[in-house]
Amino acid sequence: MLHRFANPARFMRLSGVLLPWMAGAAIILVAAGLYMGLFVAPADFQQGESVRIMYVHVPNAWMALFSYTAMAVASAVALIWKHPLADLAAKSSAPIGACFTFLALLTGSLWGKPMWGAFWVWDARLTSMLVLFFLYLGYLALYNAFDDPTRGARAAAILALVGFVNVPIIKFSVDWWNTLHQPASVIKMGGPSIDSTMLWPLLLMAIGFNFLYFWVLLLRMRGEIHANKIRMIRLRQVHG
């Protein structure tokens, strides 16, 4: 099954068809989610208007975890089955995930100052999220640290798999330890504890961010394939 998509030519054809749909879905959903979150959704009974940061912060944080999970799965496939596209997917996922993580940390900090009274505290949720950001940066640095790109890919894939232990830690940090960060509101036992007028814009944003991720991921993977082709042509010119 996997090897049907291993062919880069088939991947280029398929991703070329998917790209405009992903782009359209991402733009429409994020635009609708932002409009509903910023203008339609009510203010919170405690936080007032500051609650609107949530519509950007939470999708970013979810996608930070999603991108890392995708990167770890792709790295495992690349290590075990030596699937060439899996390696490209992992490599292309890292910078996107790093951006999501950075934005989650930034927007969280902007919310923290008015609500908690501090931009940053070293509680388990915030610290593990910062570790995730460094894992992304470490992955990218390690990938590019070798002269032989296949060795870099292997080392980085192992780092991605080792770092995956951090993902459940982030998710459950608010349940396992006392943290300043509030516990989960949406994905938890007993259903969401967030009013449906606020949940809908949040879900729109989350799905929109998901499409955004796959849009940018496919773009980056296509770029990598083109770059590889150019490298091959140059090599042939030098040796031929």
């Binding site: 009510p42 203010a43 919170d44 009974f45 405690q46 936080q47 007032g48 609650v51 949530m54 495992a76 290590l79 075990i80 089955w81 030596k82 008015p114 609500m115 908690w116 009274g117 501090a118 505290v121 070293w122 509680d123 388990a124 798999l161 080792v162 995956f164 232990v165 830690i169 396992w176 330890w177 006392n178 943290t179 300043l180 509030q182 516990p183 989960a184 509101s185 938890k188 504890s193 967030i194 009013d195 007028t197 606020m198």
Partner: protein, 162 residues
Amino acid sequence: MKRKHKRLVFVIIALVLLGGAVGLVMSAFEENIVFFHSPTDVVEKKIKIGKRLRLGGLVEEGSVERKGTRVMFRVTDLVNSIPVVYIGILPDLFREGQGVVTEGLIKDGVLEADEVLAKHDENYMPPEVADALKKSGKWDEMSGAVKRPGPGSGSGAKEEAK
């Protein structure tokens, strides 16, 4: 076994062992990972006087006394409570019945805090819904929310609705 199967088994075993090791390390360091201690922790474990401490819990209903910028209140986990003194500006979310994390030194059973952080809970709703819940008496069933609607526990809109 084919080579790729060997690699698969190796990766799974390595991840399980790593997960177990990290789990053990973190349970051993639990004391250092928790961000704050509850009043019961402080009472039971007799945390040393003169050591900096973060105390977290709910601001006890009716315990807040203000004298200028000097605020006195009690932090409770509904079992034990510890008095706190703080001089400074409180965060917006600070109110009676709400979660709070205070940091400072315990002297004579009183925490002299130099930092007070408000802890937000996981409940998000518009003010009208909060009022409706209070009127129908379902407010207390929500975990982590204000336990009793007391004086000063909400915004102006909520006060009017009562």
